[in-house]
Symmetry: C4
Subunit: 222 residues, 4 copies
Amino acid sequence: MNRQTDRGSGDTGRLEAFSDGVFAIATTLLILEVEVPHVEHGESLWSALGEQWPSYAAYVVSFLVIGIIWVNHHQVFGHVIRVDRKLMFLNLLLLMIVAALPWPTALLAEYLRGDAAAAHTAAAVYSLTMVAMSFAFQALWWHLTRSGHLFHPRVDPEGARGTRVRFALGSLGYPATVALAFVSAPLTLAAHGVLALYYGFNQVQVPARQDPEAPRGTRDLA
Amino acid sequence: MNRQTDRGSGDTGRLEAFSDGVFAIATTLLILEVEVPHVEHGESLWSALGEQWPSYAAYVVSFLVIGIIWVNHHQVFGHVIRVDRKLMFLNLLLLMIVAALPWPTALLAEYLRGDAAAAHTAAAVYSLTMVAMSFAFQALWWHLTRSGHLFHPRVDPEGARGTRVRFALGSLGYPATVALAFVSAPLTLAAHGVLALYYGFNQVQVPARQDPEAPRGTRDLA
Amino acid sequence: MNRQTDRGSGDTGRLEAFSDGVFAIATTLLILEVEVPHVEHGESLWSALGEQWPSYAAYVVSFLVIGIIWVNHHQVFGHVIRVDRKLMFLNLLLLMIVAALPWPTALLAEYLRGDAAAAHTAAAVYSLTMVAMSFAFQALWWHLTRSGHLFHPRVDPEGARGTRVRFALGSLGYPATVALAFVSAPLTLAAHGVLALYYGFNQVQVPARQDPEAPRGTRDLA
Amino acid sequence: MNRQTDRGSGDTGRLEAFSDGVFAIATTLLILEVEVPHVEHGESLWSALGEQWPSYAAYVVSFLVIGIIWVNHHQVFGHVIRVDRKLMFLNLLLLMIVAALPWPTALLAEYLRGDAAAAHTAAAVYSLTMVAMSFAFQALWWHLTRSGHLFHPRVDPEGARGTRVRFALGSLGYPATVALAFVSAPLTLAAHGVLALYYGFNQVQVPARQDPEAPRGTRDLA
């Protein structure tokens, strides 16, 4: 007879707090991959530091990648007011991949300058992780736009659904980097830096309902 | 003569924030267990990566486990409005076990493919940690339902007490995995993945008071 | 001519959020100290795990210590509504010691079963860190009670000042553990566990103003 | 036809939460740089601990540096109510440098007592990181004061612009430490400690509009 109080709704506050925590920790753990070089007496520390450039490059690119995903995550969840189980699982899946990023980052930094086969492998693993992340994000967006009722009322569900194809097309860059991995590992890393900047400037757009008479309210919610 | 201002009540906000922090960090530290394999010139990095599959499997299962405990923790504390000392200690105990999970995860990943005795030992330690976690969560729920006054007024204390046996029965899966550990370590890990998904879909249910005339308020609080 | 807007006041929200972050991360990093033992084929993993008991004991005690400091920190800042520079620096000092705790914890775990001299040294360093933490907490409390104006109006500043001596006497347990370190390292660790529990049950008490006609408001603020 | 809801505005809440997370984690990871010394039976642990003084000094200075940047970040964002893309990127850049600090800290601790050339190199890298951090903070402030419209209405944009030169002059201490690095590594570390304390006592000042008739409102916002 008792109605369950925990169905059909839910707040996004703690989900966002938990997600923010994972994003912040994953970015900060990236630095553990950059080692303190060991030089013997008389050897140059400058050149030992210089030889570590793949570590610095991988740190910067992965930091940008996680930072930009966080921005887009933030952007999307700013329009979500209800959490259902599927959304919760898809978000956990996304976080599981984000939290794993320090590992392919360390792998790529380690093998970027190694022999060609290992470098290509490491770059492919890095790219595949990004493909998985992109898929998880798209699955999350697909679920949100299909159900629609998880959005804030200001969101136009039809318009949101309409963004899915464009969003999917925009994500084709990630599979392409898997192919690129077998051409050049450094170019692959550079491509991921460019993709991160691209997504930084082309964030997920959540269309608002047309409501010309209440421009202020809509703007406040943006 | 002065009344103490710090008894008999307390807010759940910072307790939840601290707990969220521990959950988020424990999940994110899991990746440190996955190593960058070392291959000599000419060896295949792909096969070295492939041999590490226990690390990936342990990462995924432990991430799911912590993620789902977090969801259930979130669920329970959404109905709590007061914190007493015992609740605070039981919560600290739960967090102490959650924060320790990266260690049995690394242990199981290390010995999953080792000789049988070591694999069984590592799997048993992993399972025992989960038993301890399950006990801590149940002790917390037992305390909440026994005292009752820590809940939000919308919660039906009688109904909540009634969930305890079902909840305890549902947790019998964990002791069973300790026995399973001495049969097969990989199966034990798989069983924990299945249990996590089970608890993801069968979360702690907090029964609401029957109040047919105020459906909206109740729903808002869910 | 411009008045500076950033003097004489300040919110405690972000200070508490930053502090909570440091407390949560410091507790969670403790597990990195517990190693995965290395056993050769045929050796018993159980006995290798058993030999590591100082690591588990040190983990539990340090987790309790940080957890209880967090509770007391939370308790005190629940009555603070303004932050001045000195409070900010004293809080940073406290956090600097809390964030350092994983190190003496690892040190004590490493040398607890070593030769006597090293064990005593490690225990003394552990105890000295706790003395430093206790001093930082007392300096913070001393500053709050002396200035008085940083408290919420419900706090009785006279009564708060009156707690200082009792609070200082209660902290004499920490210097005593430094002496105990030269007697027995395991006893020292146990003593810190007992002290943590003691402070868990005897938290900092913030006296309220006497105001018999508004009991509800005062209780709400507790 | 649909207006995009995600342009021209944005809330600072999650940006601050993410930043706080990165600050808190970066400070707490610093302790991982301090090693547990290895002593053989009969060797003195005290003297082994004493030889590690550069690690403790580097920990304290870097903790102070990050703590003080956090305070100033907090101070500035307390007056910001809108986030545009450029601000978001400049903030990510600042966080990328803050999150990297455990690495130059470990580098300096490792080589501070090494041969002169390595010590100077490590100190120079540490100082250059601080220069980069100072530049990122100034770029962020420059952007805020130039655009002006991201500030809370209480902020005097003219006055804020006027602080830029003084702020830039105050940051000349960082490039000077790069030169100092080639004189003495320990002095360089000490100089960074002094600079951190200086910025702790001379925080970024955000000038308020002159509004003598509403002193209370302005004070509340400080």
